[in-house]
Symmetry: C2
Subunit: 542 residues, 2 copies
């Protein structure tokens, strides 16, 4: 059945016409804030500042049930084939990111699930041995793009306060040569490992970066192989043990944006944080996985309820973006990871059921930076702009590091939290000032995810919250959240423009097929901007 | 006159109904790409992949003329009072960011403009002397929020390749104590300067950070004053020479988000890059200012035409966001600055003319990260999602740093550019594949800003492009782009929640006024999440 055919979709469309007005005198009460909250593990979700009431929540719960989300989550975690689109040639793969981190080896799972778990344990044991010998290395350059680094970078920054040494990670995540050359200007190659991370083992950007780095190690007269490790799909074109100090494996059931808990994240993150912190992080993920699987009441299932609030704001209040704003400097890279997780998973237009084009909106644009920084940047627009932006705030009762102080009667952590709460209140209540320039319409929805402190367990749990939020959202929208055909066209066209650049260096090459004609027009423009800096006349003089 | 009353707005609404379809066979030609391009200085704007034609461009030009943009730009650069809203109590200030950087001391300007320029020159001379004595310092911690650091941070990262020493900037831009404590874990206080940057000299966050840092210097038994400098409004509460090694001034005609070229940016950026690079940067700004002022043809005026394309996409094609995506790793912080510049300036709902509520959309949500990184993150949604996202791409013919290499026939810079061009083509042309899962609707608009290399002059020029883009947009929408009343409500409410936190430490304090009741409900939630980590029973045992 399609999204628009669910009875509750119809009901929710009606309810949206009379959605609660948070600015109504007395509506946003102390009692409402306390009542509208659910918890799991370390996390508490406060949604009293969303434009929902009991009736709407009930209808959203019905929507989840109509969409059969529990059965689908069960299939996902049991590693049934969930990455498919009927009537279309598609990837037809299992999805295994929850299976590998399953801590319960006695659970009744499918053979695939048990095998995935065991294979991952084997790799983790290899990693433990490797790390015990890798202590001479101080830095690691990660060569990877998209899912091969975004989550790792987010976790690295989020947990830096827990590092006991000063090992560093660098991310060569862009084909832009300035990125890798800036890294090379900073590191000491002698004590630096390079981790090539590529599931397919065939990406041109990765191969270019690798070749460039291998050249540098050779120029520095170092034994190149002793500095290169690899994370790849078993049997990929890169899977050549003679080229690497060690190779760690992943399998095709791990999608890039869901790969943080696989060897993609484990190799760099256990390098800087050690295995103990890594295991804590995995525990946080696993326990949220179990909660997502076993909590059948949509109003108590944290990621499911999060997804339902997202769908309410996107499909019924018709808000085109979602800002995710952690009030925690350490989470500075979180929304970059979530942009991929949300938008690559659910920025889709095709029904999984039959390959037809869907008739409703899917992923909003995900954006945001950390608070309080955003307050002095884009909050003007969020408060008084003509559009509305729903927000997921994330906050912590305690800071990660020592060294806070009481200044003018409060700690800075308290000031930080006061700002977070004040924003949720201000957005909801507004201020119907008589001076129109100081008028705040209010009635702008948000919710708050709250925990005590951002530690490895709590972060793992949050990551799984967002992963399952996305999965549930996809289940309800009826789309395939696990492929990414939308990145292919750009890749194909990029290769054809690369061929045009290549052609310029080859005598007699005149390959100007119609398909690439536009590429030639753009390349001609490059010459024009170069000539501004290097006028033809000057060149002649030089 | 209001936006909706302009004749050309009516015409553009009609034209939008039959806006060009870029996927039409043969429409997106080589010839079109070449023809639809304008240049100024080092920059070239390619807009063949926008959904415009000659007729639409003509109507957009008419709109600019109807809105009287040239007269307004003239007033702005001549420092007339432009920060006002009629019929509302508002800031009533002049706007002087172009005046201070005016390189032409003989131009016929108002007395205010000449004075602003001279005052700035005086400060720059002070800075030159200061820097010549500050060479023993290796790092600078900038204590500032919003406009006091965002632009500086963006320029710092953009120009790092031009540094000749290894001086570093750190940004204590968040009241989150984890941010400043992470910085303190890295720097050597002995060789570190602290620059407090606050125009008003009265922001609580800044005072808290300053006090915390002064305590640390005192604990380290250093002469505190010798490490603290200040940038502030003359006569602000912080303007106490006895507290600082040096004080640099700014005036109330410099708004935070337009302050990069004032002492706000000059002090930290000349510290790391030297005065010569700073002067080059200012030259780039000034020449774009002059172009914005003197080029009366909207189709040839780079920032004005950029603004018109933005208005076309926002108000007539009705697209709610704008992604700004530089294909340059060094510009990683650019969109964070632009979020403030665009959204704080033009996220408004009130007509400057009479203080009435406007009836059209204003600033879109600004977002984006650097390419190619975004390609493997959110481009899926941009290509195949249900919403459309117009894009401003930014690219450079040459890389900043040495060390690129030819790999498989092309340099990595060429691969980077190939990706940029390919994305613009892919978004516009699409691919009407028979497999619906591989179907790209196309017809998604973008344009490209192209220059030879990201150097100080070119970056200054780009910054002024974006500043004037925003000003022109505001002129046409008829709003005041220079105040930020929308951040006030959150500030006021934050202070009332801070008072509640404070109250907890004061015996007998029971101040629970109605206004802050919601704050108490949220503070109660903090206790709940803390108890998960520290159950009451455990506490008793400890």
């Amino acid at each position: 059945m399609k999204f628009q055919d669910y009875k509750s979709v119809n009901e929710l469309q009606e309810l949206a016409k009379t959605a609660p007005n948070l600015t109504k005198q007395g509506y946003l009460s102390d009692e409402r804030i306390r009542r509208m909250a659910i918890s799991f593990g370390k996390w508490r979700l406060l949604y009293g500042t969303e434009r929902v009431d009991e009736k709407i929540c009930k209808a959203l719960s019905n929507l989840a049930m109509e969409a059969g989300v529990h059965e689908k989550m069960n299939k996902l975690q049991n590693m049934d084939v969930m990455n498919y689109v009927n009537n279309c040639k598609s990837e037809e793969r299992r999805v295994g990111h929850t299976a590998i981190r399953n801590q319960d080896k006695n659970a009744k799972w499918s053979a695939e699930t048990r095998e995935a778990r065991e294979d991952y344990q084997t790799e983790l044991r290899k990693l433990k041995v490797f790390n015990s010998k890798a202590n001479k290395f101080k830095s690691m350059i990660i060569v990877g793009i998209g899912g091969s680094y975004l989550g790792t970078e987010a976790v690295y920054h989020a947990l830096k306060a827990f590092q006991t040494d000063d090992k560093k990670l660098y991310f060569a995540s862009n084909v832009d040569p300035d990125k890798v050359n800036a890294i090379l200007a900073e590191v000491d190659l002698k004590t630096t490992l390079v981790a090539i991370i590529s599931k397919s083992g065939g990406t041109l950007e990765i191969k270019s970066e690798e070749e460039l780095l291998r050249k540098r190690y050779a120029q520095a007269k170092l034994n190149v192989k002793d500095h290169f490790i690899l994370v790849t799909g078993k049997g990929s074109p890169m899977d050549e043990p003679s080229n690497f100090l060690e190779i760690f494996y992943m399998w095709d059931y791990i999608g890039g944006r869901f790969s943080v808990s696989s060897m993609v994240g484990a190799v760099p993150l256990a390098f800087v944080f050690g295995m103990e912190i890594w295991e804590e992080f995995l525990k946080g993920l696993h326990e949220m996985d179990q909660h997502a699987l076993n909590e059948k009441d949509p109003m108590k299932n944290l990621p499911l309820f999060g997804a339902l609030l997202g769908i309410w704001n996107r499909n019924f209040l018709e808000l085109p973006t979602l800002a995710i704003i952690p009030y925690s400097q350490a989470m500075n890279f979180w929304s970059a990871h979530l942009q991929q997780l949300f938008m690559e998973s659910n920025g889709k237009s095709v029904a999984q059921e039959d390959g037809s084009f869907i008739k409703h909106e899917t992923s909003p644009v995900i954006w945001g930076t950390v608070g309080t920084e955003g307050q002095h940047a884009y909050y003007q627009c969020i408060h008084q702009g003509t559009g509305e932006v729903p927000i997921e705030f994330i906050g912590f009762a305690s800071s990660q590091r020592e060294g806070d102080a009481i200044i003018e009667g409060t700690t800075n952590q308290e000031k930080l939290l006061a700002n977070l709460f004040a924003q949720a209140i201000a957005l909801a209540k507004g201020d119907h000032n008589l001076n129109s320039n100081k008028y705040f319409s209010g009635n702008r929805p948000s919710h708050i995810l709250l925990a005590n402190v951002l530690d490895p367990y709590t972060l793992g749990s949050l990551l799984a919250y967002h992963e399952h939020y996305v999965a549930y959202e996809g289940f309800i929208w009826g789309i395939n959240s696990f492929d990414q055909e939308g990145v292919q066209l750009g890749k194909v066209l990029a290769n054809s423009v690369i061929d045009l650049f290549k052609c310029q260096r080859v005598k007699g090459c005149t390959s100007l097929d119609k398909e690439s004609a536009l590429g030639n027009a753009f390349i001609a423009e490059l010459k024009l901007v170069q000539e501004v800096d290097f006028p033809k006349n000057e060149k002649k003089l030089a």
